[in-house]
């Protein structure tokens, strides 16, 4: 399957040896949105989360401390850049690397929060992400062994052998677990209960966009 059929008219390519970055409206849209969000995250303050206090009529204000703010902001910016890289890369191994990096950063963004339920959720998500890194990289390795290349432009022009299909299924499983989307989202939802909206957005955004990109990559490789 060619890029233009999936992502719209091809604007151009940027070759790096056999790895070719291809620029379609679809890839550029995802890339641009992620960069815009990353810039907004870099310049935004965090909100003060107002919560009801049990047993009284008072409210509790939950804020993000300065040290925690700095840690979470830098991790969020790196996560945004890594996700943007995953949107535009033309190499299957680079995509899996970006995916693994995003999974680690997602945990890192909430790891400095001092709420037990949030840390529990991050721990559970971390376990799933760690387990799913095996099929993620294993799938890419199987495709490399079966075809001799990880370049998406070359893979898109090759017929899919049974081993390539097996590798693609493993990558899908790995991406689902690493990004923590359905059916693994239950482990991740509690992570969003803490304050720090600009940092939480990148956790959700990176997961969704990487899933969309994974769909494009799998269709390129399989069809």
């Amino acid at each position: 399957m060619d890029f233009a059929t999936l992502g719209g008219n091809l604007f151009g390519t940027i070759p790096f040896g056999d790895i070719v970055l291809y620029l379609t409206p679809f890839n550029l849209f995802l890339f641009a949105i992620l960069l815009v969000f990353t810039i907004i995250i870099a310049i935004s303050n965090t909100e003060t989360q107002v919560e009801a206090t049990f047993g009284s009529l008072k409210n509790t204000n939950v804020t993000v401390g300065k040290k925690e703010f700095k840690q979470r902001r830098i991790l969020s910016i790196i996560c945004g850049i890594a996700s943007a890289g995953a949107m535009i890369t033309g190499d299957l191994f680079n995509f899996t690397l970006f995916m693994a990096l995003v999974g680690i950063l997602n945990i890192g963004i909430v790891s400095s929060v001092k709420q037990v339920s949030v840390l529990d959720s991050a721990f559970n998500y971390g376990l799933i992400a760690m387990m799913c890194s095996l099929p993620l990289f294993g799938g890419a390795a199987i495709i490399l062994a079966a075809t001799g290349t990880l370049s998406l432009s070359i893979l898109s022009s090759m017929p899919a052998s049974p081993m390539v299909i097996f590798g693609a299924v493993l990558i899908l499983l790995g991406v689902l677990g690493e990004s923590g989307v359905a059916p693994f989202f239950a482990s991740k939802a509690e992570m969003f209960r803490t304050a720090g909206s600009p940092f939480l957005v990148i956790i959700h955004l990176s997961s969704l966009f990487i899933i969309i990109r994974a769909v494009e990559i799998l269709l390129l490789v399989l069809l």
Binding site: T5, L6, G7, G8, N9, T24, P25, F26, F29, L30, I33, V36, F37, I40, I41, I43, S44, N45, T46, E47, T48, Q49, V50, E51, A52, N61, V181, A182, P183, F185, K188, A189, E190, F192, R193, A195, S197, P198, L200, V201, H204, L205, L208, F209, I211, I212, V215, E216, L219, L223
Partner: protein
């Protein structure tokens, strides 16, 4: 450029009127007079002239920026959809950003209602499964993601709703999930006031309502175009009205599901329809 501007205005006006019709139908089913059909449009315009207030607890400039991103993204949706008839994947991306805004418009204000809506938005990401599955099935049937080519395919082979009806059903479930007062609209449950919109006033609310109107028009247009093939403007209008009537009737007679039930129902429908469609394509 003029075509883009005209299409955005048509999408806004059309979407507003359709949402107004949807609300009117819900009211009539419930034996209430209901507001005039034009009320949603008047509300949207009214907010642009209201005073804009910002909560002291809000995350600035994120709180403001995310609303404008939503409006820009749905304008891109109009360009990728009705104007250029480009890739379905771009519209999938547009819809994903819509989910992000649902998620973070709520949490950025600091309001507990917005925060609950935000957490539910994470759960309601399950609504993307029907969209994703429907797009993949359309691709499996037609061999293309390009909307213009899908229309051409249907011109030769007949409407896709006849050959992959379960995929069409899945897409319709997504539209139902995004309709106001839907049984799946857990992010805007009445227990959350207006969910992620609770703390957005004035111009910001105006842009939110503008985006929702455009989103409704684009989603319905996409459904009719992808599954009913090349249709004239008259049939498009008829189709849009029929969708508003059906979703209005369902929403008026169905209670809102709890978050867990909503997610499980969507995933179950998605799985059944996906497997069913695959079997139909193979057989």
């Amino acid at each position: 450029m003029a075509e883009i501007l005209i299409d955005v205005i048509v999408a806004f006006l059309g979407g507003s009127l359709l949402l107004g019709l949807h609300r009117k139908i819900m009211a009539r089913v419930q034996r209430r007079p209901g507001p005039p059909i034009i009320q949603n449009l008047l509300h949207s315009l009214k907010f642009f002239f209201k005073e804009t207030a910002f909560p002291k607890t809000a995350s600035m400039p994120f709180y403001v920026g995310i609303i404008f991103i939503l409006a820009v993204v749905w304008i891109i949706g109009v360009i990728a959809g009705p104007v250029t008839e480009n890739s379905l994947l771009i519209l999938f991306g547009v819809y994903a950003v819509y989910k992000i805004v649902e998620h973070n418009a709520g949490s950025s204000s600091g309001s507990p209602y917005g925060k609950m809506s935000c957490v539910r938005a994470v759960l309601s990401a399950a609504t993307e499964l029907p969209l994703f599955a429907a797009i993949v099935l359309v691709y499996a049937k037609t061999g293309t993601m390009n909307i213009a080519q899908i229309i051409s395919y249907q011109g030769v082979h007949g409407p896709l709703v006849a050959s992959v009806p379960l995929a069409a059903l899945m897409f319709f479930v997504l539209i139902l999930a995004k309709s106001p007062y839907s049984p799946f609209a857990i992010t805007k449950g009445k227990d959350l006031v207006t969910g992620y919109e609770t703390e957005h006033f004035g111009v910001l609310r105006g842009f939110l309502m503008f985006s929702e109107s455009v989103a409704w028009f684009v989603l319905c247009w996409l459904f009719l175009t992808v599954f009913f093939g090349p249709i004239s403007v008259l049939w498009l209008v008829v189709g849009l009205i029929v969708i508003a009537v059906i979703t209005g009737f369902i929403n008026a007679t169905t209670p809102m599901l709890s978050p867990n039930h909503s997610v499980m129902t969507l995933i179950t429908i998605c799985c059944i329809c996906f497997v069913g469609t695959i079997l139909m394509i193979i057989i």
